[in-house]
Amino acid sequence: MTDTILKADNIVKYFYEPEKFQVLKGISFEVKKGEFLALIGKSGCGKSTLMYVLSTMDTDYEGSLTIKDTLLTKQSQNQLAAFRNENIGFVFQFHYLLPEFSALENVMIPALKLKRYSKAEIEEKAYKNLEMLGLKDQALKRVTKLSGGQQQRVAIARALINDPAIIMGDEPTGNLDTANTQIVFDIFRELARERNQTIIAVTHDDDFAKNCDRIIEMKDGQIV
């Protein structure tokens, strides 16, 4: 339970449009395996930007990022894509689903890509994840026919499908009512405790944050 799974070292990031602007001003922290971490801070302080860096999607930064003892900084896009597929589940702030597919297929796609299990096993697991989030009866609907909150839960089910070592959520419960927020929180809590998966969640919800193992607060691109 004590080994480090993620290590960010002095991460600095600039935006150049419309003018040069330092968003992240040297962020360093470590996350332990099985930890449930909340990232909070005022709107515009750079939380989403940091999450994109941590999720390995954004490679345009200074400093270094290590996940599961693998130095990811400067790896190629394709190597990072394969790494993400296996190790990182991501829930975007604006739940990005594939509009032409059903909820079930959206959940299955990362697992079909990873090919660790057979299609039948993946389908069963996807159903289980959807059921857990109260979406079993919506599984075969196209995601464009679902409500905002339902879509967000589909995105959460998708993030969990490959049993990733780290689950990152950018306001994963932003569109959910209190009951569903509680369900999601409980799922995260359980994954961290029972399966030793690491959760990093950006949130504006004080109750949500309070119940996490640790809270990191950001202000103007720095950790306070």
Binding site: Y52, A81, F92, L98, P110, L112, K113, R158
Partner: protein, 413 residues
């Protein structure tokens, strides 16, 4: 390696906007069907042209080219001096082919030859009452002449094989008969340049649809022609050869040139204008159809580009979930190839239908009834291949662009 989730995504993309898929497919279909129609039509025209030409022309011809010019013999001995021979003459040693039996035996051993025939061709005046027309009377080996030229097909009156038994019989061209006012069983007088005159009975009239032949040619039996000239049984003026592939005459010529002491000439050498015409038509057909395919390719390129711009967020999501650049390329290239294959198959069918329809259009000139058309399978296969290559290239460029999309810059908004 074929990743089935990639295929599934390609399939969903193709089927979720069927209209757009069909539009892209129609581009290929149009290109391929036009290609098939153009090449079928052009080779039909070429074949018809060849048929017409070869009704009066053999693939290879052997004849006496006349003696070499030896009139300035002293020049050969003293090539560097100026020698002037006054009133020099080319002396005529031989005329026609004297030892035809030996040559025919040589030819019989060659492969790729489908038939050959000997002729004794004589320049003559045809006379009937007061009318006088100059032309050629051709003494022919009745059976072989028919094999090489299909002459019996051209008979409009009389029976080709009858010439075998009638040494006084003659077949005249339809125009010649008209000019001289000849009918069946009329007599026609023939006058050679040596002043020999003889009468023949018209036992047939033919039409080759080559006007110059129909107005100046007549056939008699080969021995009758030898009699007319007063030459022996071995004498011929021309040996005409037909080959398996008339476009491939050179190997035979190289083979027999050294064995035969006479001029061996392919139809290509004697008829450069026909060769030029057919290869120009081929070039036009190819240029036009490749242009059409190119335009179709641009169509696919545009539609694929559009699709990729529409789906840019989905591509970013796929990459965020761990799909590599080459996965994305495969997903979109698969779509292009499926469009290419479907469009190609429909295009082959449509091309065939268009060809059939055009083939029915009436066109009554020079013995034709309809516009000519060919249905060679290799043209269909070639069209399909070209279509696939075009879609592959036209699909690869946008697909490759899609693989380079940076997911964060799209998802961040």
């Amino acid at each position: 390696m074929f990743n089935s989730i990639n295929n599934r995504i390609s399939q969903v993309h193709l089927t979720s906007d069927v209209k757009q898929t069909i539009v892209a497919m129609l581009g290929v279909t149009f290109g391929i069907s036009m290609y098939i129609f153009m090449t079928g039509f052009m080779s039909g025209v070429n074949d018809t042209q060849a048929d017409l030409a070869f009704s009066a022309l053999a693939h290879v011809r052997i004849y006496n080219d006349g003696p070499a010019d030896n009139s300035n013999i002293a020049k050969k001995v003293f090539p560097n001096d100026i020698i002037n021979v006054r009133n020099a003459k080319v002396i005529k040693y031989t005329d026609g082919i004297k030892n035809s039996t030996a040559i025919l035996a040589t030819l019989a051993k060659q492969k790729d030859i489908t038939g050959f025939t000997s002729q004794v061709n004589v320049n003559v005046f045809f006379k009937n009452a007061g009318n006088k027309v100059n032309g050629v009377v051709s003494g022919v080996d009745v059976t072989n002449e028919d094999k090489v030229y299909g002459s019996s097909k051209h008979m409009i009156q009389g029976n080709w094989n009858e010439l075998k038994y009638r040494s006084d019989g003659i077949f005249v061209g339809v125009e010649l008969a008209r000019v001289l006012g000849l009918k069946m069983d009329d007599n026609v007088n023939i006058l050679t340049s040596d002043g020999v005159s003889r009468n023949y009975k018209v036992i047939g009239v033919f039409r080759t649809d080559v006007f110059s032949v129909d107005k100046s040619k007549a056939y008699i039996a080969i021995n009758a022609a030898r009699q007319l000239l007063g030459v022996n049984q071995d004498y011929v003026t021309d040996i005409q050869i037909d080959m398996v592939d008339y476009n491939n005459t050179q190997p035979l010529i190289d083979n027999i040139k050294s064995l035969i002491p006479y001029k061996v000439e392919s139809w290509q050498m004697g008829n450069q204008q026909l060769v030029a015409g057919s290869s120009l038509r081929d070039t036009i057909a190819r240029a036009v159809s490749l242009t059409i395919l190119l335009v179709a390719g641009f169509g696919i390129y545009n539609i694929m580009n559009m699709t990729i711009n529409q789906k840019i967020r989905e591509i970013a999501i796929l990459k965020a979930m761990g799909f590599s650049g080459s996965d994305v390329t495969k997903i979109f290239l698969t779509q292009a190839i499926i469009i290419g294959i479907l469009g190609g198959c429909v295009g082959m069918v449509l091309g065939y239908i268009i060809s059939r329809l055009v083939n029915r259009v009436k066109f009554e000139i020079a013995g034709m009834h309809h516009l000519p058309m060919t249905y060679y399978p290799h043209n269909y296969i070639l069209a399909f291949m070209f279509g696939l290559i075009t879609t592959f290239v036209a699909g690869y460029l946008p697909a490759h662009k899609a693989s380079k999309i940076d997911p964060v810059s799209i998802l961040r908004g």
